[in-house]
């Protein structure tokens, strides 16, 4: 149980003291109209699966918000516009949201090119762009209307490095990463942290998102003779790599980033992902009440389906949006200011989430060290595999 990182709590209470009593509860115009959030994300195109997962997370959070009596009596709702994660469409959507007075803030987009192309429009239009999957280090530098709860890779990767190097005792690592802005940034943070822990990086290989065949890459990995493989991957490519690694006879320990944390990883990987280690932000048996509420609620709403990381990001984002709207009301500028005021929002990923006003991000993600045992994610028991 001691695996849960308690730093957050300490930090949270510190932040609470500093934030002081700066609460200002805006007077709400009593209205039966729901408070509308705009969502820009992919529902068709190559990233459509992530948009679908967002929706599941949003809808669950909205159900809970509604049964908790809405926000000062007003319902919260969202309008989801399909951008296909294409910058050309996300900028048009941005203008649409900015010029629609009913929209009080925006969530998304998914990919960095689509999100950051729209940032100038949101910034000039004075509408908050709340990018909850945007880990690109420059995303929140777009302006003071850009806020993100995406786990900063500067936070996440050292945790993964500590798991791989200090806890699992791996000394010579091969890093396979998605060659996108996310994968590249993550790799750099991981390599830095792993080296600080005294590990050697034998080889790093970046692959493009559409890649399906990794056999030749794995020969390179084998020739570098590492004692562990690090996957900075999403669940579909992570499962492919694990399968092919086992097929070509690589028996090294595999340790993967939290983005593979999905029941799909187990389904797609089959036996090959047995004993794969995953550093995540929460796990099914996690005793934290917010996690239990999320998991049982999700399973109940979606016929026993297990939630994954992207569901959790979306669920957290909607809860954060609700907390911010509660303070800021329906005024766009007040909502931006509310991001700096909101504190200790219950969160699956962070435990208690409070923004760092300087970077407009949340620091101190929770940490859980999992391993796949008998086809299920389980808390790592400390036994070597």
């Amino acid at each position: 149980m001691s695996n849960i990182d308690r730093r957050t709590l300490v930090r949270g209470s510190l932040a609470a003291m500093m934030a002081g009593a700066a609460f200002s509860r805006a007077a709400f115009a009593q209205s039966s109209e729901p408070i509308l959030l705009g969502v820009s994300g992919p529902l068709t195109g190559p990233n459509a699966q992530y948009g679908t997962q967002w929706k599941q997370g949003f809808d669950l959070a909205l159900d809970e918000i509604q049964s908790a009596g809405n926000i000062n009596g007003r319902k919260l709702a969202y309008s989801f516009e399909d951008s296909q994660s294409d910058p050309r469409q996300s900028v048009a959507i941005a203008q649409k949201f900015v010029s629609d007075p009913r929209i009080v803030m925006e969530l998304g987009d998914f990919s960095s090119p689509a999100s950051m192309a729209a940032s100038p429009i949101y910034q000039r239009g004075g509408l908050v762009q709340f990018g909850f999957t945007n880990s690109h280090p420059d995303f929140t530098k777009g302006g003071d209307f850009m806020w993100s709860t995406s786990v900063s890779q500067a936070d996440e990767q050292p945790l993964l490095a500590a798991y791989a190097v200090k806890r699992l005792g791996l000394k010579k690592l091969a890093v396979l990463h998605l060659n996108t802005d996310w994968g590249r940034t993550s790799r750099d943070y991981f390599v830095k942290a792993a080296k600080e822990h005294g590990a050697e990086i034998a080889v790093t290989e970046g692959y493009i998102a559409e890649e399906r065949d990794f056999r030749s890459t794995l020969v390179r990995v084998r020739d570098a003779n590492p004692d562990g493989l690090i996957l900075i991957s999403y669940y579909s490519d992570g499962a492919l790599i694990a399968r092919q690694a086992r097929q070509v006879g690589l028996k090294q320990v595999i340790c993967a980033a939290s983005s593979v944390y999905s029941p799909k990883f187990l389904e797609l990987g089959g036996e090959a992902v047995e004993d794969v280690h995953v550093g995540t932000r929460y796990f099914p048996e996690d005793p934290r009440p917010e996690v239990q509420k999320f998991i049982t609620g999700f399973k109940k709403k979606y016929n026993g389906l297990e939630p994954d990381a992207f569901n959790a990001y979306a669920y957290d984002a909607m809860n954060m949006a609700a907390a911010v709207v509660k303070i800021g009301g329906a005024d766009r500028r007040a909502i931006r200011d509310a991001f700096a005021k909101v504190k200790d929002v219950s969160s699956v990923i962070f435990g208690k989430a409070t923004f760092d006003v300087e970077s407009r991000r949340v620091k101190g993600a929770m940490n859980a060290e999992l391993v796949v045992r008998k086809g299920q994610f389980a808390l790592w028991d400390g036994k070597p595999t």
Binding site: A48, Q53, D82, R88, A92, V98, P113, D213, S216
Partner: protein, 607 residues
């Protein structure tokens, strides 16, 4: 040393997988001289039908294969009957556009039925592994190889020794002559599409089982790799397609071995360009073989363009120019800004594809070159944005023309494939040349548009800026087409031998067209970079190239006004269909198909 054996085996295994798609493509190309962009979608359909059979119905493997083959063949027959046969006597390029539309529709149907989440497709073969070199292969590898090689052999025998096979080859050589000899050309086409689709479906099933994973995004990648393999082997040559696929697999594998994983596709596309330049008919074409395209330019058939009275154009320009004075939302203006940017790209493509006949499928590369040049000039060297955009246009003109020049000797479909490859190469170079392009991290903080020190940040000023730039480019292009240069361009398109006999230097004129076109596209990319403030290697992707070609064909090849009209239509339609949420791309695909069906020469006709 043993590693090289492993790389070789891995290359062959992957080549094996590519071969399944390539054989189907080769068959269709052999008969109808058509790159079937829907082949990847049939492969997708096959994979999902296989999933239903395996996971829901629990059919044994032989039955699964038969089911998938039959269902995919049925899809192929429907495509042939309703999508392509009505276009038989229209412009040669119309069926190409139709297959793109069909692939949209099929992909979307699968996505809507099965959701975009990836699914596991468990293999039904025993999980035993055989040790070869440092790695292992399994029974599925053997089955895939077996299916690939057997189908290629069967097809070879069928084409060479059966009566229907002769009919197929006769049709491939000369459709009209075959018809005069009593060959039922439609039946031949049906047979070919049925066989190719069955093969495509089965390959989707097997590849899905191989990776234990199917998802709706797999279709475009399958088509791309299949096309590369097929052309390397010699378009339309079935055994060549198999060997081309194996070669492609090997080159990729060795590329990974020497330079690392992120260079993999770079080698695939370089191989393609090299083969095209050195042996345009593919590695295995015999010297006696007739040229793959007709000698004169029936690829782009002339049609009578719609004459638009000058006053209509003036009124339309006037209306769009004063539009921001009316109460239109910024959303409408932003959508039109996107249309003007796409319009500039379409002007460029309609010149090189329509006027001089070099149908490019890699035009997004010109956008990317312009965008990166302009972004880096303004960021690194503090060049004023207005000048930086012009710099982007010039760089795009110079670099684009230099990159494409080796393939000036190619014709018809081969130009498209070479440009497709060059487009991919540019994107991969951007990804890998980190010291200049910042690789996957991309370039952020690009300064906004500005002119003479005034920042253009409001949608209204950006609207006017992009509209004026587009109108100026369109007027220039109109002037160009009316001059002797335009007539020379069209002469080269319509009959390059006659043009050469008349003393026109083909390469020079093609270069001129690409220089002008490259400039327009580069300017469009440059403006986009400053508009978005962030770009990376994914901003200007293959879908953009395909969209641009769709715009140009829709508007009418070579038609300046048509290009702009097409851009407005294809940016506008998906926005109009927003109300339909997930269904919008499906509706878009169907509208596209209907337009091609009833107006194959484009809305305004070829100029």
């Amino acid at each position: 040393m043993s590693s090289w054996l492993d790389y070789t085996i891995n290359g062959l295994i992957v080549g094996n997988v590519y071969a399944l798609v390539a054989v189907g493509l080769a068959l269709i190309f052999g008969v109808s001289r058509l790159i079937n962009f829907a082949q990847g979608s049939i492969y997708l359909v096959g994979a999902y039908i296989g999933w239903v059979a395996v996971v829901q119905l629990h059919t044994p493997l032989p039955l699964t294969i038969i089911l998938v083959a039959a269902a995919a063949a049925l899809v192929g027959l429907i495509i042939e009957r309703f999508g392509l046969r009505p276009l038989q006597n229209s412009v040669r390029i119309a069926p190409l556009l139709a297959t793109i539309g069909i692939s949209f529709v099929l992909d979307q149907l699968v996505m809507l039925t099965f959701s975009p989440n990836p699914r596991a497709l468990p293999s039904q073969l025993p999980d035993v592994r055989f040790q070869i070199g440092g790695g292992t292969i399994g029974p599925l590898d053997l089955l895939i190889a077996g299916v690939g090689i057997t189908s290629a052999l069967l097809l070879f025998v069928f084409l060479r020794y059966s009566k229907l096979g002769w009919a197929v080859r006769a049709t491939a050589q000369d459709r009209d002559a075959a018809m005069q000899m009593g060959v039922d050309v439609n039946r031949v086409n049906q047979a070919v599409f049925g066989i190719a689709a069955a093969l495509g479906g089965v390959s989707g099933l097997l590849v899905g089982m191989y990776y234990n994973q199917i998802d709706t995004a797999m279709s475009l990648q399958a088509t791309l790799k299949g096309v590369v393999a097929e052309v390397v082997g010699g378009a339309g040559n079935v055994p060549g397609a198999v060997i081309g696929s194996l070669l492609l697999g090997l080159v990729e594998s060795y590329g990974v071995a020497v330079f690392g994983t992120s260079y993999r596709n770079l080698f695939a596309f370089l191989l393609l360009v090299v083969v095209l330049v050195l042996r345009p008919n593919g590695l295995f074409a015999s010297a006696r073989q007739a040229p793959p395209e007709p000698l004169t330019g029936t690829f782009i058939a002339p049609s009578r363009p719609v004459r638009i009275p000058r006053w209509v154009l003036l009124v339309a320009t006037g209306i769009f120019a004063v539009l921001p004075f009316f109460p239109v939302s910024f959303y409408v203006l932003q959508t039109l800004i996107n249309a003007w940017l796409l319009g500039m790209l379409a002007l460029s493509l309609t010149l090189v594809a329509g006027t001089i006949g070099q149908v490019s499928l890699g035009h997004a590369a010109l956008l990317a070159i312009g965008a990166y040049t302009s972004a880096l000039l303004s960021l690194t060297f503090a060049v004023p944005v207005g000048l930086a955009i012009i710099g982007g246009g010039l760089m795009s003109a110079a670099l684009g023309t230099a990159l494409i020049s080796p393939s000036f000797r190619l014709r018809g479909h081969y130009v498209s494939i070479a440009t497709l490859a060059i487009g991919e190469i540019v994107s991969l170079v951007i990804l890998n040349w980190e010291s200049v392009t910042r690789g996957p991290i991309g370039i952020s903080g690009i300064p906004p548009l500005s002119l003479f020190g005034y920042e253009l940040v409001s949608p209204i000023s950006i609207y006017w800026f992009s509209f004026i730039v587009m109108v100026v480019l369109a007027l220039l292009q109109g002037r160009l087409l009316g001059s002797h240069l335009g007539r020379s361009f069209r002469a080269i398109r319509d009959d390059d031998i006659a043009a050469r006999a008349y003393g026109l230097s083909l390469n020079r004129y093609k270069s001129l067209a690409f220089i002008f076109g490259g400039f327009a596209a580069g300017v469009s990319g440059g403006i986009a970079a400053h508009l978005y403030s962030y770009i990376n290697h994914e901003t200007f992707n293959t879908q953009q190239s395909i969209l641009a070609l769709t715009v140009v064909i829709l508007g009418g090849l070579g038609n300046v006004v048509g290009a702009i009209l097409g851009a407005v239509a294809l940016v506008g339609l998906p926005e109009v269909f927003r109300i339909a949420a997930e269904y919008r791309i499906l509706i878009y695909g169907i509208v596209l198909l209907l337009l091609v069906r009833f107006r194959p020469q484009g809305l305004l006709g070829t100029m």
